[in-house]
């Protein structure tokens, strides 16, 4: 049973990363109804900038702050360049798919052009000290990831539910035209929301950076995992549900690796995702999940 506790804890640690990226995707989706394909690139930019500043001899904590800021800047740029012009033309078109994807391609290759395609060193932060619980071992970095994810999710929910800013977000998510009719500045709000989404992605980056090192192609890989986290959880309706999706995804991946074989994490989470999407297309923790749909079903079936 040693492995059970170990893979659950490691799963929670990596799941926190997936969840943070999933939440980042969900936050920008919440406000604009756009899936930002460049979200993973914000995480990558945070990692690359942190690594570059650290390599230049500055303190790792200063480097981390600069990395997070750069992720926010990229996020806001992605909104201004790739999202806003599209939804200004037609809020329901799929043009954003082309533009956010184009933005992602441009950012990824710009990073590869500047820093080269090979991995570079990343400050080890808390990765070199570890703590053991019973018979499981976690690095302090992993514990930090779980704690930060919990803190960010809680903070996000408190802001969303209990502040005017958060309620404005709910209003814009429900009906942007109505919200702007009653005086909400949807543009300013969207910029703020994208900056926050960039922060979430950037935090995920600096938390996982010590393990992955700095590589310009990290963005796509982690972007996909974040996307799956969002879909499993149902983050398209409620951003914090993406965190639960991420944690579930992390545990499933680690569990598949431990219990099936070392490659199983490549396909097992996808299998789960397919089953979840067939059962509840809007995600496990959304209001459209089976528990909520039962009255609706009985209504139409009778």
């Amino acid at each position: 049973m040693a492995s059970l506790l170990q893979f659950i804890l490691s799963g929670l640690a990596i799941g926190s990363i997936y969840g943070l990226i999933g939440m980042a995707l969900a936050i920008s989706f919440y406000v604009t109804r756009v899936i930002n394909f460049a979200q993973g690139q914000m995480m990558m930019v945070a990692i690359m900038i942190t690594a570059a500043i650290f390599a230049a001899g500055y303190s790792p904590w200063l480097a981390v702050i600069a990395g997070l800021l750069s992720a926010c800047v990229i996020a806001v740029l992605s909104y201004l360049i790739a999202v806003r012009p599209i939804i200004a033309f037609n809020r329901f078109s799929f043009g954003w798919l082309v533009s956010t994807l184009g933005f992602a391609v441009a950012v990824e290759n710009a990073a590869a052009y500047i820093w080269g395609p090979t991995s570079r060193a990343f400050p080890q932060m808390l990765n070199e000290t570890s703590v053991s619980f019973f018979n499981a071992v976690l690095t302090e970095q992993q514990i930090l990831a779980i704690a930060v994810a919990a803190l960010f999710t809680a903070a996000f929910e408190i802001v969303r539910r209990h502040t005017l800013f958060g309620k404005l977000g709910m209003a814009i998510a429900a009906d942007p035209e109505m919200a702007s009719a009653i005086g909400a500045n949807t543009t300013v709000f969207a910029i703020a929301a994208f900056a926050i989404s960039g922060l979430f992605a950037g935090v995920a980056g600096v938390l996982i950076g010590p393990n992955t090192f700095a590589n310009p192609y990290l963005g796509s890989t982690y972007g996909i995992f974040g996307f799956i986290a969002m879909m499993i959880g149902g983050g398209t309706e409620k951003p914090s549900a993406a965190m639960f999706g991420g944690l579930l995804l992390g545990i499933l991946s680690e569990g598949a690796n431990t219990l099936i074989n070392s490659q199983a994490s490549d396909w097992f989470p996808f299998l789960v995702l397919v089953i979840i999407l067939i059962v509840t297309p809007r995600g496990l923790f959304s209001s459209g999940s089976p528990l909520m749909r039962i009255p609706g079903l009985s209504r139409s079936a009778e």
């Binding site: 082309v98 441009a106 290759n109 396909w267 299998l271 809007r282 209504r299």
Partner: protein, 620 residues
């Protein structure tokens, strides 16, 4: 309309028919000449053009579902992979003729498409895109994780395409001919569908699904069917692709699926050549722009952002818009606005019983054609919306349904039409129980309806919207759609349907507006178009949900005359309306609903005189 006018009309359509036949012939000749040049050119040029052509087929397959049905599939990469791997692996193992594999590939991809479609189509929009995306993701992962079968990330070498026999060698590379012809077939197939009566039907499913269902169209099966066709095309593209070299997972992953959508959007969605233009741009870009690969990718990203933000409708969409505006400024005759008032004279011309329908007596004791018994209905939580509602509508009557807002009128109409299903009670149509039947099945039994907010395809002219109403009156629309303009029977039936739709529009008094897009017409004409799309099918029963809402006084009078004429043809009507001044003179019977219960059914005079009705509804 006089016989001479009909002759003129068909004469003119024949002339334009001639023109397009000349044009398509010229296009095919130029295309084949281009193919010959490619087939005889160097391998580098060949592979560049052929890869673009394969992606052209893929983009067309996606445009078929995304453009015409609004289903943004990200599964095309997966179907593409199924085609390529099936061809490669079977050809490597069993040494069969590759041409025998083509039907197998089409069937396999099509069936997979039908299964994926049937499971994911109950969710629309973005969720459909995501489900199909995951499908591609899973297939790629499987291709990587079973290297003993698929060769893993390295992939496997595709089969060789058989050469031409000796006498045909001067034609050049056989594989070039095969791929280019396949692209031509794909272009032709979708062009045919776009010029068939199935096209307005597909757009109505995309933009106004309740309208399509009410016109007797089984929208769910059509969606699955078209998606399966699209999947089969993508599988066919995979078959073609396997002849171009190594088949490996990275060629079919989710990024490829996304790229195919990028091609369609950049080129112009729902256009004939847009997807091909997009495919050429996306697939040739890396080869043509020969700079540092990273800079080249940065440029590609920047260009695709620029393209979609400056031309949100794509390159072909922009061309179409330019053509439209130039034509509008050139053709002065077309620019003259139709009279804003309704076309009264045309209506009188066609008044009187139309052909084929027996003029039935509307005796007060004619048979009951629509009956509701003890209908109970509630929306999930909350109080019952309908409570023990009984309603009997006699053949040939106009039956009014009035009541305050929220009394359950529209809910009752939705239950009769099959959009909602009652929790208890029975609905009978022509004496037969229809409980549990879908709206489309009820429409096929002769029940049609209009909607309070008109549900029409805004980008199509009114006449093509009316055409949707004829869907189940013309057999073989689906089976012939892929070849429609090529078939003499298709051209004949198409002209007949068009003629029928225009006649119906004239009959309701909207004859001046037949060529106008629904997006450009006033509200009153929109209501009449909706009515025409219903009456064109010559139904036995029509349910009209607040037809007079938002109409001007003169439009209301006009509508009353039109409805009286339809009634004279023996059609039964159930009309929900608030304007009793308009409704009562038309009605044989009126039922008053209040808070989900029938308070009275009687003649208009009885209803008007009833003290309870005066209190709850007329406000006294």
């Amino acid at each position: 309309m006089s016989g001479k006018a009909i002759a003129q009309r068909s004469g003119s359509s024949l002339a334009t028919g001639h023109l397009w036949r000349m044009r398509s012939f010229a296009f095919v000749v130029v295309y084949l000449a281009f193919t010959l040049v490619i087939a005889r050119s160097s391998l580098t040029v060949q592979s560049l053009v052929l890869v673009a052509a394969v992606f052209g087929v893929l983009a067309i397959s996606l445009d078929l579902v995304a453009g015409m049905l609004g289903l943004y599939s990200l599964g095309q990469g997966g179907f593409f992979g199924i085609g390529a791997y099936l061809t490669t692996l079977v050809a490597a193992k069993y040494d069969v003729n590759v041409f025998y594999l083509l039907p197998a590939v089409l069937v396999a991809a099509g069936l997979t498409g039908a299964i994926v479609g049937a499971t994911s189509l109950r969710v629309g929009g973005l969720y459909f895109a995501i489900t199909t995306f995951v499908f591609t993701l899973v297939l790629t992962v499987m291709a990587i994780d079973f290297p003993e079968i698929t060769g893993g990330t390295q992939g496997v070498l595709g089969p060789l395409f058989p050469d031409f026999p000796k006498f045909a060698r001067p034609l050049g590379a056989s594989v070039a001919w095969c791929i280019m012809l396949a692209l031509l077939i794909a272009i032709g197939l979708v062009w045919n569908i776009r010029n068939s009566p199935l096209y307005p039907v597909l757009l109505s499913i995309r933009d106004a699904e309740p309208f399509a269902e009410a016109a007797g169209i089984r929208t769910a099966s059509i969606k699955v069917g078209i998606f399966a066709l699209s999947a089969a095309m993508a599988g066919g593209a995979g078959w073609l692709f396997s002849f171009l070299g190594v088949v490996s997972p990275s060629q079919f992953n989710w990024a490829v699926s996304l790229n195919i959508l990028v091609m369609v959007l950049v080129g112009g969605i729902n256009t004939t050549f847009g997807p091909v233009i997009g495919a050429v741009f996306v697939s040739m870009f890396p080869a043509v722009v020969n700079i540092n690969p990273w800079l080249q990718e940065i440029l590609y990203g920047a260009l695709s952002i620029l393209a979609i933000t400056t031309f949100p409708e794509g390159i072909a969409g922009l061309a179409r818009r330019l053509e439209l505006s130039s034509r509008r400024s050139a053709g002065d005759a077309d620019r003259s606005e139709p009279a804003a008032t309704l076309d009264e004279t045309a209506e009188r011309q066609t008044a009187g019983p139309s052909e084929g329908r027996p003029h039935e007596a509307t005796a007060a004791d004619s048979e009951v054609i629509v009956e509701c018994r003890g209908i109970e209905f509630g929306y999930g939580v909350g109080p019952k919306v309908l409570h023990g509602v009984n309603l009997a509508v006699r053949r040939g009557h106009i039956h009014g349904l009035i009541g305050p807002n929220g009394s359950g009128k529209t809910t009752l109409a939705n239950i009769i039409a099959g959009r909602l299903h009652q929790q208890a009670g029975t609905t009978l149509l022509k004496g037969k129980t229809v409980d549990g039947l879908a709206p489309s099945a009820r429409a096929q039994l002769g029940l049609r309806r209009t909607f309070q907010a008109a549900q029409l395809v805004r980008e199509l002219p009114t006449s093509r919207n009316v055409l949707v109403g004829l869907f189940d009156r013309m057999s073989g629309i689906i089976s012939r759609a892929a070849f429609w303009p090529l078939l003499p029977s298709g051209r004949r039936d198409g002209a007949r349907m068009e003629e029928r739709a225009e006649r119906e529009l004239r009959a309701v008094g909207a004859g001046n507006w037949t060529k106008r897009r629904v997006g450009d017409i006033p509200h009153g004409i929109e209501q009449l178009t909706q009515l025409a799309s219903v009456t064109v099918a010559e139904p036995d029963v029509i349910i009209l949900d607040e037809p007079a809402t938002g109409l001007s006084m003169s439009e209301v009078d006009h509508l009353a005359r039109v409805l009286a004429r339809i009634k004279a043809q023996g059609v039964t009507m159930i009309i929900i309306e608030h304007q009793t001044r308009f409704l009562f003179p038309l009605c044989d019977r009126v039922t008053v609903l209040n808070a989900g219960e029938v308070i009275l059914t009687g003649s208009a005079d009885e209803v008007r005189a009833d003290p309870v009705v005066r209190q709850v509804y007329l406000g006294e």
